[in-house]
Amino acid sequence: MNRRYVLKKILSCLVVLFVVITLNFFLPRLVFSDPAAPYYAGVPEDAVLLRQQIREEYGFDRPVLTQYFLYLERIFTLDFGVSHVYKTPVFEVMFSRIPWSAALSLTSMIISAVLGVYFGASASKNRGKKQDKILLRLSSVTTAVPTFWVALISVMLFAFVIPIFPYRGAMTAGYRLEFNPAAFLISAGATVVLTAVLYRIFKKGAVLAAVPLCGLFVSVMIAVPFGDVMDVAYHSILPLTVISSGGVVGYALTVRNGMIATVSEDYILTARAKGLPERKILFGHAFRNALLPLVTSLGMSLAGIFGGSVLIEKIFSWPGMGQLLLEANDTGDFQLAQAIMLFFAILTIASNFITDLIYHKLDPRVSVAGR
């Protein structure tokens, strides 16, 4: 990989990150005439002294620049402050929510990508036929109908009218997920080792995707009691179906269009003229190039894996990051909101960076153009 290209990308990411951190600090202060305003709940305006004590308690009495430098210092030591609503360090609050969002989003992304690639490839192969037409019509529907509406209807239909799925939450009310972090870490470590060994033996890219995924699944099964896994799985069927339904069609359409554009290229004609089998032409030549837009879509979704979906999480009362952001905004918990926004920004920057690298790997012309 071109080192200069990577360094340039890293540098631009750092600049963007610095701008984001700065905006993240100053924007709330522009919105509120007094940044301590959300902390005054229940304290009247004429209670000047009490308000002053609150400002001192949370450090709002210091000059803005001093606050800014303290904020920078805290970020680099991963100290995002204490949420005044949860009374807990912001980092801990976020950390407890990330796995829930990740579980939902990662699973739906995998389902969407696998099915999307299959249906997209199949539609491109059968262009103009029934399968292709269904996909095109479905894409109109999924684009026009908002996901949160589908979510509401699905709850009403499958929890209320035909009561086969639960109404809310990630687990049955009153149950807490029992998680054994030591078992998880040991299993995850073993997965890393196994992936490296298998990749060395087989030298296939598929190993890098399949083994970690299987390892993750096994690690979860080892670290979480089976009853809890089943309970979470049961509660996640509806949200997963809703989120994935839109994703499958989206990815399928991307793959279909990419494949159609690629198979009409000259080099595919050459491959056919050489007498290569159709399967090899499709997956050995066309698919790699048709994959580029899919990589972009998947890369952009990476940020959403941990970020969650605000509305879906709200409807299903799913305890993820999306809902946390919504609550932080509603309660004026801007230490928490700031940290979440920063986290989302870092994820987006990181996913863009990873997408660029994968793009570069798949299509070396990218780095040449980027010079």
């Binding site: 004429d46 308690e57 939450g169």
Partner: protein, 642 residues
């Protein structure tokens, strides 16, 4: 093998469909989690308390949790719906509702930790028996110092220029120089902390000192103690509370609002701002095990097995509900579905009017019962008379008030209620007070005074102000209403109505979230008018800001956030604020109302109705409160499992 591959290839779509559906079916069939708390009272709530710290937040879900876990010095008594103030009201166990009698006992009935009877009886010709005294110089100086009232410096230490006379006025306003009061209380029998330790008067003394020590961290509570001077426990059962105040109502605030916490637990907590209190120790009838608190999912309140039998008989008519489960339903549509299905017994939160409209007479929701009640929230249209406001003094050649009044006369409450609220609202009286309030204004015939529309008067006022209508009926005046997106319909209806009636153009400006906070605090915003709200509480008379609607006290407070400068209004407000006789205080409040009507700073639009939803699938015996929902102290007293 080849044959198998061929079959697989041929039926690949069926295989994929099976691969998707089969795991779903298997999970749905074989998951073995069933309801964890059968028989519990389950309440759906959009929010689960983030902490069980009793002073962490004024949010209703937090005060609900704190109310189950902790007690206050005197508690409070509310009137059940159906009690008319004249006839006896009987609960379903035959017990009669005991209304408060302030003439005999200012503190009303006590269902809290302490009693005044035995400590102080009302004496003939005295102020209910408590000691009224003039503070010594030292006491007065100490209180001034605590409030940081220092000559030449403001409350936060900034230098200010003031004369001796000005300082005297400022300090007298902060701390009165006479009629301080000492109240004595006695701890009632039976109360114990949930960890088995005895509850004593020393815990009460500790609570006050703790709140003041950490007033920055628990400012919401510390504000209630702004006129507190001292609390001294004389023994394990008796204590004296001294207030640097000549307002009788201050004592109620303290006795009804401050949750008493155990000294043996909290003396070791030095950072209350970071305390989650997930293993709470309180005197309340319920407790929470830390394993029963699941963040942002559910919290289970369990009836204490060690709860005193005599208190149990006093507070519960039947066998108490053993477990109360608060379950998170972030979306209200989903929550209403769960209610119909019997998954929960009641909605903790008030239900949106649009949802009520959707489920009323809907057979799919035939098990959901809706209780409507007059809420204490009045929607208003406020004029900006601040320094940058369209209606500031001097604008319109001094005719701003006439224009405000003309707009007020052009607005028809009935039309707004019909067109914007689909008849789900009530009319509001003069001075922004709903007519069901005991202090609402009445005319000479005893009828309630409403804000009423009068096109003729409106047009005459504008003509007088020099803004005459052109041939098309249009006047050379245009304004904008700043409101949230949710109030756009209301703002546009007002605009249409005013234009039709007097020819003034009124547009709509969409406000960002938190706009009212910004406007009120900066008091320098340049908008024309806003859709605003006023919260009333029966004991509170007037409250100009919804944020303070949680004070469970009887103190009339008026905050002039509109920025209007009126010496007369200020004088009336001061009179109302310092009046110690309750009946006279109501009269002073009415004087303020009349003045407000005259200033025409804010026009009442309608009084909102609120709705609570519940079912009788699992429990019977719901008791509604006057101007309140079905979740209240009586609910826990009378609910019975079916």
């Amino acid at each position: 093998m080849t044959r198998f591959k061929e079959i697989l290839k041929k039926h690949i779509n069926i295989v994929i469909a099976a691969a998707i559906i089969l795991p779903i079916v298997l999970i749905a069939v074989f998951h073995d989690r069933r309801e964890k708390y059968p028989g519990a009272l389950k309440l759906g709530s959009a929010e689960i308390p983030k902490t069980l710290m009793p002073y962490s937040s004024m949010a209703s879900v937090n005060t609900f949790a704190a109310g189950l876990l902790y007690d206050t010095i005197l508690g409070g008594v509310q009137e059940p719906d159906g009690y008319d103030g004249v006839n006896e009201y009987l609960f379903e166990d035959g017990a009669a509702f005991q209304p408060a009698d302030e003439k005999e006992n200012y503190f009303k009935f006590s269902d809290g930790l302490c009693e005044t009877a035995g400590a102080y009886e009302r004496k003939e010709g005295s102020d209910y028996g408590f000691i009224t005294f003039t503070p010594t110089e030292e006491q007065y100086a100490a209180q001034l110092a605590r409030k940081k009232i220092v000559k030449g410096k403001d409350e936060i230490g900034n230098p200010i220029a003031e004369t001796d006379g000005q300082f005297a006025v400022r300090s007298e306003q902060a701390v009165p120089k006479d009629r301080w009061r000492t109240y004595r209380f006695k701890v009632r029998d039976g109360y114990m902390w949930s960890d088995g330790k005895p509850f004593t008067a020393r815990d009460i003394e500790f609570t006050f000192k703790y709140i003041l020590k950490y007033s920055g961290a628990i400012a919401g509570m510390a504000f209630f103690l702004s006129n507190y001077y001292s609390c001294e426990a004389e023994s394990d059962t008796d204590f004296a509370l001294t207030l640097a105040s000549n307002k009788l109502s201050d004592i109620k605030t303290i006795c009804n609002a401050i949750m008493i916490i155990p000294a043996h637990i909290w003396s070791g907590i030095a950072k209350p701002a970071q305390e989650r209190n997930l293993n709470p120790v309180g005197t309340g009838a319920y407790t929470v095990k830390s394993s029963d608190y699941i963040e942002d999912s559910s919290v289970v309140f369990t009836f204490r097995e060690d709860y005193d039998e005599s208190l149990k008989r006093e507070k519960f008519a039947y066998e108490p509900v053993k477990k109360i489960v608060l379950v998170k339903y972030a979306d209200q549509d989903v929550m209403l579905g769960a209610l119909q299905a019997g998954e929960i017994d009641a909605s903790f939160d008030a239900v949106d009017e649009s949802k009520v409209y959707a489920i009323a007479d809907n057979p799919r929701y035939n098990k959901v019962k809706i209780a409507s009640y007059e809420s204490e929230y009045v929607t208003t249209l406020a004029f900006n008379v601040g320094k940058n406001g369209a209606f500031r003094d001097g604008n319109f050649n001094g005719n701003g008030k006439k224009i405000r009044m003309a707009i007020a006369y052009a607005i028809d409450q009935n039309r707004l209620i019909e067109n914007v609220r689909y008849n789900n609202a009530s009319r509001v009286g003069g001075g922004l007070v709903p007519e069901w309030m005991p202090h609402a204004l009445r005319d000479g015939n005893g009828n309630y005074v409403h804000h009423s529309a009068d096109a003729e008067k409106a047009n005459a006022l504008l003509d007088e102000a020099g803004y005459r209508a052109d041939a098309a009926g249009k006047r050379n005046l245009s304004f904008s209403i700043l409101a949230s997106a949710g109030s756009e319909l209301l703002a546009r209806e007002i605009g249409a109505m005013v234009f039709e009636t007097v020819g003034i153009e009124i547009g709509f400006t969409r406000a960002d979230s938190q706009y009212s906070e910004v406007i009120k605090q900066s008091n320098g915003a340049d908008f024309d008018m806003i859709i605003n709200g006023v919260t009333f509480e029966t004991d509170k008379l007037l409250m100009f800001d919804a944020r303070f609607g949680v004070y469970p006290n009887g103190s009339p407070r008026v905050f002039n956030y509109t920025g209007v400068i009126s010496a007369e209004l200020s004088a009336l407000m001061l009179l109302m604020d310092t009046e110690t006789n309750i009946a006279a205080q109501y009269e002073r409040a009415r004087d303020v109302q009349r003045m407000l009507i005259d200033l025409c700073l804010e026009i009442p639009l309608f009084g909102a109705k609120a709705y609570s939803a519940y079912t009788e699938i699992g429990f019977s015996g719901w008791v509604r409160l006057q101007r309140g929902g079905v979740l209240n102290a009586y609910t826990y007293r009378y609910l019975q499992r079916k």
